[in-house]
């Protein structure tokens, strides 16, 4: 240990000479290194040597394991770095550009957009007036724009009725995103009910009550489906 040039500073003392000998043999150093590696990988925050000592079997020397691990990761895509009192595995800073595209803020589609998208998917080709009739409210410009921007819907052919209104259809991007081969694969209302997906009871992990209107709707469904 003393010979180790990359010895972490926390390594102030070797194993306590007064410690009672453990009931189990101390794991060999490569095994201790594996343990430290796994703990650091899974931890949500940097882990201190004291914490490692507490987690590893009695008689282990996390400080030495850390120093081995540090040299093992030297020059790799991942590095062992010290953060305050703790140690953490981090991607190498020169590769930060690789992670750049990772940062996309994901936001759930608004209710209006989700409903509009659903109507287009189930009824395509469908006109704006038809969407409004099914939803019972007028369609804001932004909703269509957003769905078009996402490349989930596009203009279809004009309807051969007075006024020749434009229709909307879903795109291949839409099918790809939702893992569908065709819109005919979309489940029907009865199938949803059979799968228990129309139950009004709040599903675990799903936020309810964001919108009173929605809860009313859910109640209506219960009435309808509990037969």
């Amino acid at each position: 240990m003393i010979d180790d040039p990359a010895q972490p500073p926390e390594d102030t003392s070797s194993a306590d000479p007064n410690a009672t000998p453990g009931l189990f043999p101390v794991p060999p150093m490569p095994e201790q290194e594996r343990m430290v590696e796994a703990v650091l990988f899974a931890a949500a925050d940097p882990v201190s040597v004291a914490e490692l000592t507490g987690r590893l079997p009695e008689g282990c020397d996390p400080a030495e394991a850390l120093s081995h691990l540090r040299s093992r990761y030297a020059g790799r895509g991942v590095r062992l770095v010290r953060v305050g009192d703790g140690w953490a595995l981090r991607t190498a800073p020169d590769l930060g550009w690789l992670m750049r595209t990772e940062r996309v803020e994901t936001r759930r589609l608004s209710r209006a957009a989700t409903e509009t998208l659903a109507i287009v998917a189930y009824h395509q080709p469908v006109t704006r007036a038809e969407i409004e009739e099914i939803r019972g409210v007028s369609l804001s410009r932004g909703t269509i724009d957003q769905l078009m921007e996402l490349d989930w819907i596009r203009f279809g052919r004009r309807r051969m009725t007075p006024g020749r209104p434009l229709t909307f259809v879903v795109t291949d991007t839409f099918l790809g995103h939702f893992g569908l081969e065709t819109t005919r694969d979309l489940p029907g209302v009865k199938e949803l009910r059979d799968a228990g997906l129309l139950d009004s009871r709040g599903m675990p992990g799903v936020q309810h009550g964001l919108d009173d209107d929605e809860e009313d709707g859910a109640e209506g469904q219960t009435e309808l489906f509990e037969d």
């Binding site: 990988f41 899974a42 990772e102 936001r107 569908l180 209506g220």
Partner: protein, 270 residues
């Protein structure tokens, strides 16, 4: 082998009607809620035979099941309908297995049916065993772990809107069911109200002293064939009956389905 029922088992096999067998069935009945349907119960019963499911005696199994249902009946325990359906089917199968095959009969042989039941039991047991092995596997978040602090290094902010298929179909279902709940209302544009018809007819009948086809009184715009005409005709007819009752007009029809004709009643109401 550690089955506490082992002793009763032997008894049950040697003498199916023995007290021990009945007691054993009763013990099962008490636990009937613990079974996931008749197939599950059959699987449990079949384990009593202590043989590979492929070599199981379906006849014996049918008898055990029927004994179970009989015991439930005696204990006045109500079994769910599917247990009784299975009992009826097993009774049928049992009789088919015991009787010599009827060459005139169509359909699958009793042996085929028995073999299929054995297959179903084996398959259920296999799936049950597979689910146990699956759930016993090393699992993410319990035995092995993902990165504890996923890195987000970029400064670039890019909002991506997303929705799952579940969101989509639920949204659709929500709209559809909302539709179903829309209060029932007539589409008024194609309905000619009785009040309007009455008013119109009352206004023009006074000038009509000759017999005139009722259809001639239909308002303009409601005369073309279709729902509008039907509605206007019905309302005008009802209005004419009302006016006839009040003594303001007379109605005449020369035969069934012949045109209805009306005229103002001479010396009618003031």
């Amino acid at each position: 082998m550690t089955d506490p029922h082992t002793t009763e088992l032997t008894a049950a096999r040697s003498a199916p009607d023995s007290v021990a067998a009945r007691l054993e069935d009763e013990a099962l009945i008490v636990d009937v809620d613990g079974f996931e349907g008749p197939l599950d119960l059959l699987l449990t019963l079949s384990r009593r035979q202590k043989v590979d499911l492929r070599r199981i005696s379906v006849l014996q199994l049918a008898e055990q099941y029927l004994g179970f249902v009989e015991a439930a009946r005696k204990l006045r325990i109500e079994l769910a309908a599917d247990y009784l359906v299975m009992a009826a089917w097993l009774a049928f199968l049992k009789s088919r297995l015991l009787l010599p095959p009827d060459p005139a009969e169509d359909g699958p042989s009793a042996e085929d049916m028995a073999a299929h039941l054995a297959f179903q039991l084996e398959r259920l047991e296999a799936m049950r065993d597979a689910s146990g092995r699956l759930m016993g596997r090393d699992r993410l978040g319990r035995d092995f772990f993902a990165r504890g602090m996923p890195e987000t290094l970029s400064i670039e902010k890019h909002t991506r809107h997303t929705a799952t298929l579940l969101d989509l179909v639920q949204a659709y279902a929500r709209i559809r069911t909302r539709d179903d709940f829309r209060p029932f209302a007539f589409d008024r544009t194609d309905v000619y109200p009785l009040e309007t018809a009455l008013e119109r007819l009352r206004g023009i009948i006074g000038t009509t002293s000759d017999w005139t086809d009722l259809a001639g009184f239909l308002p303009p715009g409601w005369r073309k064939a279709g729902n509008r005409r039907r509605s206007a005709l019905a309302s005008t007819f009802a209005a004419s009956l009302e006016l006839a009752k009040q003594g303001q007009l007379e109605l005449r029809q020369s035969g069934t389905f012949a045109p209805l004709r009306v005229r103002a009643r001479s010396g009618g109401a003031p």
